[in-house]
Structures are given as C-alpha cells and as structure tokens.
Symmetry: D2
Subunit: 307 residues, 4 copies
C-alpha cells in the first residue's frame, strides 16, 4: 500500500442541547451546540472496514444528552471536561477526545407590573429572549493525562467612532490609500484564550467568572486604546487579558477590519465632517495574531479563530 | 406584442449607511440598510430600451447618503419618509416610492473606572458593541398623496420553558403526535405593524417611542400568555399591541415553532423530567396571521413577514 | 374584543424528503423541501385555544412522507397537487392548502472504464453529485375548486460579458454615474411563472418538460438580448417564455444587478480594456417586474420572487 | 512587558476579481476570491503603533487587481504564485506570504439555433451561467525559498443510494443505533491536497489538468467503493488520488455524514423499502483524516478543511 493514514478524528458534530433547570417557578437555561471528535486506535476502520474499534457517532450524541441529565451543565467548559474524560477513559481504543462547544446566551423577559402583581413574580420567570450578541465558544482536549482548554467568543461586532489613525505606512507603486487621522475602527471579534489549567491536580478556574471578566477587559481595552492600527489595538486587547487574568497564558485574535468609508458628498455640495459612512462588506483587512504570557508556549492553531 | 408589462419597480437595494452624530465627546450612532424601489411611467425602459424616464439606481444610492447629511437620521421611519417624498415629488415619471430599511442597534461599551477618571467620561463615549438581537425594520410607501408605514422586527428568538400545552387536535390516519401538557414554546419572531398615519395633515407618531413600547408589549404578551397553541399566543401578542398602541391598526406575525423535543433518556436508565431538550432545525411548524383593529382594512401582504 | 383575526395559515415548513426509485441497479433520485400552509375555519384555535379544528403540523409532515411512498414523486408540481387536494378534501375545517416546494437536482457520477467493465454498468448507477446550480421551486394552491400553480427558480447566476449599455438616463443633482457603452451585465435570477391550468377538467401540463423548456428559453433570451438596461433584458426574458410556452400566462422576475465594476488601473500605469472587474456585493440595483399574456390577470404577489 | 507577540499575519481578504479574456467574439472568464496574508518583521506595528514596516492591506488589494492585468489568470495556483513572490521579494519586512483563493466556475449558455444563424456563432459566446457546484480552492505559501501549494475543493455534495453498510461497532450503555446493511451514504466534500512542487527549479504541475483529474479520481473512488464506514470511503478517495496523481503527496478530507434517515411509515400501514428518506441537518457525523504518500510528511493543518 503506497499510502499511510495520518491524523484522523471522528464524532457527532453540532448536537444542540438545551437544559432547563427549575428553581421553583424560576427557570434557568443553558443552550449549547456540542461537537465531539475522537482519535485513537482507528486504523482498521479506515483500512479494512472493521468497525470493532468504532464507537458510533450516534452514541457520542446520546452521551451528550445523557450527560446533560447526569451532570447538569454548570458551564460549557465543565460539561466538555465531563464528556472528554468519559470517552477517553471508558473506551480503550479512544486515546484522545476534543469537545467543541458553542454557547448561546439568553436574557429574561421582564413582565408587566400589573401581571407581576396578579400572578406572582415566581410564576413568570420562565420567559427568555436570546441575546444574540457574541457566541461563546470553548474547546476541551484530553489525552488521558493532560487537559487543554481554549475558550473564547466570535461574532461580537464593536466600533470606535474616533481615536483611530492610520499613516506612516509603506508606499509602493500599487499604493493609493490616503493617510487617515480620524477614522472609524470597527471589527467583528473572533478571539480564543488558552487556560494554564492542564492537570486534575490543579485547582480548576471558575469558568463562568473567567469568561465574564475576560470579555470585560477585552472590550475595555478596545474602547480605551488610541489606535494607530488594528494590529496595535489587537495587541492591547490581548495584553490586557493576560495582565488581568492569571489563569490565561495565550490569546489569539482574528479581527476583520470592518471598513467604514467616509462618503464623498462634495459632488452634492455637502461637507462630510466625519458623519456619513458607507459600511463595506468585502474586501476587508484581516488582522490575526497570537499574544503569549512571557515564557508560555504557543498552542492555539493559526486557523482556529477562523472557524 | 402578445405581452403586457405589469407591476414593476426598481432601485438600489441594501445601501449600508452609518451616521455618527457628535455631541461633544459623546457620539451617537445610527446604522441602517436602506433599499429603494421606485415605480411610475417606466414602460419605455422595459419595452424600448429608452432610459429617458429612468433615474439610475446609482443616483438613488447617492441620495440616501446625501440625505443622511442633509436631514440626519432621527429614526428609520422619518428617514424613509424624507427619501420617499423626494423621489416622488422631484421626478415626474416616478409616481410611487417604497423605502425598506433594516436598523441594527448598538450599545455603549462601559470603560474601566480607572480609565474614566484619567481621561474623563466624555472622552470615551465613542465605543459601541452591536446588540445583535432583533433587526428592526420599516417600510415606507408614498404615492404623492398618502403614506403607508409598516414597521416591525425580525430574528428575535424567544422561549417559554413552561406554561405551554398542545392537545385536543384532530387525529387522522397520519397523526402520530402525542398530546403535550407541559412543553417548551419557542419562536423566532418576525412581526410587522401598520400605522394609521397616512397623511401629512395628521400628527406623526413618535417612531422611536412607538417601537420601544410595541416591542415591550409584544414580549410581555408572549411571556404572560398561558398557551394552548402558538396560534393562540400569536393572537395575544398582536391583540396586546393593538390594545395599547392607538397608532397601530394592523399586525402580522410569522412565527416558526422552534421545536425543542424532550430527549428520551429511558434507554440510559435516566428520567427526563422536562430538563433535557434537543433543539431542532427543520422541519418546523410555521404559524402566520394578521390581526386587525375592528374596522381596519388589511394591507400587510401575506409574505411580507417572510422577507 | 377590539381586534379581528385576518388572513392566517399554518403548517409544517421545510420537510426534507428524498425519494429513491430503483430501476434494477439504476437508481433515480428526487430531493425536495416541502412546506405546507393550511387555512380555513381556524378562528377558535387563535381565539379560544381550542384545537378541535387543528390538524397538527406534525401530521402534515407525516403526510408528506407517506405520500412520497403512496404516490411517488413524478414532479414537484404533481406531488404538491396530491398533497393540496388531500388536505382540503379530507379535513372539513381546512378550506385552502398552499404547498411550496424547493427541488434540488442531482447528476450522475461517471465511473471509471476499468471499474465499469469489472462490476457491470448496472451496479454503479447509484452515485450522484448535487448539481448545485439553481433551486427549482413551485407553489400549489387549492381551495377545493380551482388550482393555482406558480413555478420557477432561484439563485441562478448569469452573466453577459458584453452587449450591455446604459446611458440616456435622468441626471439630477445627486447623479454621478458615468454612461456605459460596454459593460458586464450579471444577475442572480429569481423567477416565477404561473400556469393557466386551474381546473381538474383541463389537461395538465407536462411539468418536467415545461420547466426544462422555460429555463432554456429564459436563458437564451438573456444571452441573445443586446441590452440597454436590465429592465429591458428582464422584459425580453419574460416575453420569450410567454411566446414559447402556451401553458404560462404570467411571469415575474426579481433581478439583482450584480455589479461588476471596471477597476481603475491607471494609477499603476495600466490600461483596463474591459478586462479586470471588481465583483461587488452591496448595494445592488434590484429590478422587478411582472409580464402578462395579453388578457391575463396578475396573480403573482410582488414579494414572492424575494422569498 | 509581560507579554510576547507570537504568530501574526495581515492582509486584505476576499478580493473579488473577475477577469474577462476576449478571443475575438469568444470570451473566457476567471472568477476568483483572493485573500492575502503577510508575515515578517511586524513587531513594531503591534507594539509601538509605527507603521513603517506595514504595506497597507489596501495596497495588497490593488496589487491583486493590477496583477490580473499584468499576468492574466492562467490558473488560481499560478496567479497566487505571482502574488506571493511579489510580496516577499519586493518588500524587505515581508518574509512570508500566504495567498488563499476561491474559484467559481462558469459554463456557457447555449443560444438558440435560429439566433446563432442570424447573428453568427462568434457574437454570442459571451454568455455564462455560474455552475454553482463545488468551490475550487487553493493556498499558496512562500517564504522566499520554498513553496507550499495546497489545493482542493469544498461544498461538493455527493450521495450513494446503496452499497453502504454500518455494523460491528462498539456497543456501550449509551448505544441505541441499529446496525444497517443497506443505507444511503452522502457527504459534502471538503478536501485539500498538497503538491510536492516546492522549488522554482522543479517543473511546475499543470494546475488545471491536475484539478480536473484529481476531482475525477476522487468522485470515482466515492462511487465505486462498497462502504462499511465513511472512514473507509474517505481513505479510498484519498488513496485513489495519491495513486493516480504523482504530483500530490498528501490529502486531507473533512466529510460530514449527511444523514438520510429511513422514515418509519409503518404507523400508516406502509412499507418503506429503502425508498423514502428524511434528509437531516444537525447533528451530523463528521469524519476527518489525512492520508500521505509513504515517506511524505504531514503539513496540511487539521482545521484547514473546515474553513
């Protein structure tokens, strides 16, 4: 046989699980999209058609739903850890499990005062609207010994309407761009951060609090950086996270420059004093970088922020 | 010629205009997607290739941007009214203008306390995150005499985790559905409401307040209705709007039933006490209806809520 | 009650049904997405929560799959006619059924010569690749007496790289567009055509042949029209259909002008002799019109081509 | 500074370039989406806000359009090679360029016989319909010394309606799947193959012929493999490519198992003899693997087939 099987993995992707927890009349919701990928002693499945080492993807789906009942969903990270540990420790041929999770957040719908009085506050705490802002993501990888947890978010669109410049760049024969001293800076954040928790012996981070704080620091850095390039803003966002969150050693961002071009209104006898912009779709600048805590080793793959 | 030209319209669609208004260091943002459709004395354009009556779609685009400067964007509705009036009154061959607008809302990014002290609160009020929840929409139609304004929203996902039943329905030979006495009710709201403002002589509604209040009443009705069908919930949502908002005479909703199926955990020896659900994509029930103020005439087209 | 229930309909949307027909070793495939919408005596469902007149959407789904077995899928149109007739004639409260269907086409994968010899041609006629070009659509409506069949297609992208001009249009104060005497004309066709078959007593069209021929005439008219505007091309496309297909009385197109802008290469010392174009996304001109056979009445709704 | 800048890259993404070549009245079209990513001595851009080493993303866009004129577009691969070489050799701070290209293919619209006679065949060879099947992709990476070319395709949906089984797998406490002895096997192919051309001294492959042949062998292997798992089919598809195409050393596929579930028609008194299927969306099995020519080293990243 002139060919060799290289890296391979399989599992059920995009298992949509919603968990409702009832605390009297007050309900809580966790809404996840869980993808399982397993690796191990699987050469025969590919080479001979023998499925003796293959746990069906359907079974990995069932396990996701069963675990939502058995363990609850405290956080996406904790749920992924339960799943990854199970697959690696319960099936001899499975040596490595990677669990990717998207989480959609919901907010409560406030009820009318009249109604609250009538039916009691408890009775109506079961209504939710999906927030629809960023999607929270995490990836848990376990090989039976060490954990790798990379969390983050995607599709969070942010804008600074001033405090952004871009000038002093290389001009070659194909350069026509005019220098800008007051422009809009907008991007759709896709970010991932890797935790330094790798071992069951270590104390586990508080995943929910970590997410909330990391998101906050990232947004503040975006808002507070006077920017000379999106690269510089990216670096500040990542550095702010590493400075404030000791549980995180590595951050990677993929930031499309969502261009807002000042519209030329002069043909109509109007002056556009940084007021009216055209929001462009394509093409867009795409700025990507990893920032590491001093001494840490890069592990987040280049394309992970593009998924 | 054996053929006849029927209804026709043309214009530039999806003009993405962002307007920044500066109030000292505090910036405000309006973010719209504006589509223009013009009708009138346009037979020759289609039949002979003469463009003598054709205002180019490129010109309609330019007008959108110029008007953002000339009139500002007080509300999507008011902006659409300026545009529709302009096209109909300034070009003799144009007899009717329909302006469709999507609006994306943004919220301010809170800056860190330390930073606020250092640079002053005013200096950092130019940072925004896109809310990403529903898209607000409006459609303005003007024929030179009367106005039709239909506003609404789309892509607002809501859920009640209890207080929903479905039973007592027809059973025919193809019916296998089990009756449900406590189910999740979830939908992605697409709604449109028509204003009874039709004439420049009438006092114009406060478009921004109307939207905010209509949305609130609609969500409260969704949360507070004990539901025996999504049809019943829809009717309550629409009725609540008409009861509370005298400026609105007609409401239409298109509500996909975003099914959340209880997962059967019995094969794993587990009991699923309304806790673990599978969120399905397709197929989905689709419930659509118009509700009118007594005496009003239906004008919202059947498929408008599907756009 | 200050409100009145207007037009309403419900049913299961997007039932994905794939039918395999085996003719010895040669398989045939029909791949549909079927949406059911029923109307009738349904006020109580909305007003009182009584479901006594409600055939569950789940039952309409089951019926789609059962009918794929009972009647086969000769064509999307014929399949929709079976379904619509069933719902209206079998359930007293249902007075009207509208069936919308999308159809995805597949082509056979050619096998290697060596293989064909070895295993026999019959054995390998079960492999298909999805064509992925246009989506064929149809809508069947039945009220117990008359039929309305509107078929068509969407997402068919076409381009003429020459034989298109645009000049002689209105110039107002917002016009900056330069006249064009040789431009690219490209669009993503969304078209619908209404058949004059309305009655079981009439001879039914050959739906498969009609689609194939209508598509061919439409494309030829696009290719062969020397165009002075997309409106003119649209009119020719529709007229060609009505002239050649006696079973069709009305055609409506929604044609986005997929702009291909000539790139200005002069800053780089290069001449762009209609060679290098930038394919833009938004905004786009949107040209929509209905064309009727002389004497026919317009029935295709304005927004139907936007679905 | 407690943080360190890791891997970083930037450039203009999704430059949509269409090139028309006129051979008398017969036109040819190349339709690409080109994304540029540059790396090198760019620390200052991130750390200090100095853009002295930054070639603007806008310039990389201009270069794409200028090169379409200067070099033409013989193939996506050849075009990417021109671009990558330019950026690395013309700008001292740029040490590495990665060009990603999507290519959309078009087919000619056949004109009517009558028309062809009238206007001459040459006159109408400028009309095209977008094929809309797979998207062809390539990625060119150059560091000034060695080339890496990884080509492939995505979104090609294929199906075998028989000759697929799945049984003999692990059964654990979460397994409920029934064994299958005749099932549909369908997938949406995302594949990448790496060329062993790495050096300007080597003879360059014929990129167009290589694509056409690789696609053919891949499809034939899919059609001709009697399958016991999608893993086994994947391995056969990759092996067939490496066996037949000496220019390719490594192949990676990401194959979602597009489940087609047999519908249970027994409740309706019908037998489903492998005829009527429900095409499911989510969740789906996801099978991914790399296959290498014996002796080759794996270079295609795990997530590249997910882009």
């Amino acid at each position: 046989m002139p060919t060799i099987l290289g890296q391979n993995q399989y599992g059920k992707a995009e298992n949509r699980v919603v968990k409702i927890t009832r605390d009297g009349g007050t309900h809580h919701i966790k809404d996840l999209n869980v993808s399982v990928a397993l690796s191990g002693d699987l050469d025969d499945v590919h080479l001979t058609g023998s499925n003796a080492h293959c746990l069906p993807t359907d079974t990995t789906k069932n396990t996701v739903y069963a675990f939502a009942k058995e363990y609850g969903i405290e956080s996406a990270e904790q749920f992924g850890i339960h799943l990854a540990r199970h697959f690696v420790t319960s099936q001899e041929p499975i040596h490595r499990a990677r669990i990717r999770i998207e989480e959609y957040s919901w907010e409560r719908i406030a009820t009318s005062d009249a109604n609250s009085k009538f039916i009691g506050a408890d009775d109506v705490n079961h209504s939710f609207a999906r927030k629809g802002q960023e999607t929270r993501v995490t990836q848990i990888t376990y090989d039976g010994e060490r954990w790798e947890v990379i969390s983050g978010l995607k599709d969070l669109v942010v804008m600074n309407s001033t405090n952004s410049e871009f000038w002093g760049y290389i001009k070659d024969k194909y350069t026509t761009l005019q220098e800008a001293y007051d422009r809009i800076l907008a991007t759709q954040v896709s970010g991932r951060w890797r935790f330094n928790w790798t071992d069951d012996e270590q104390r586990m981070p508080n995943w929910e609090k970590s997410y909330e704080q990391t998101r906050k620091h990232m947004l503040q850095a975006f808002a507070e950086t006077y920017s000379y390039s999106l690269q510089q803003t990216l670096y500040q966002m990542a550095t702010r996270i590493i400075s404030h969150r000791s549980e995180i050693d590595e951050v990677r961002f993929s930031l499309p420059n969502k261009h807002h071009f000042l519209v030329d209104l002069e043909p109509f006898g109007l002056k556009n004093d940084n007021e009216v912009y055209y929001a462009a779709d394509r093409p867009y600048g795409l700025i990507e970088a990893t920032v590491l805590r001093d001494g840490a080793t890069a592990q987040i793959p280049v394309d992970m922020t593009n998924l």
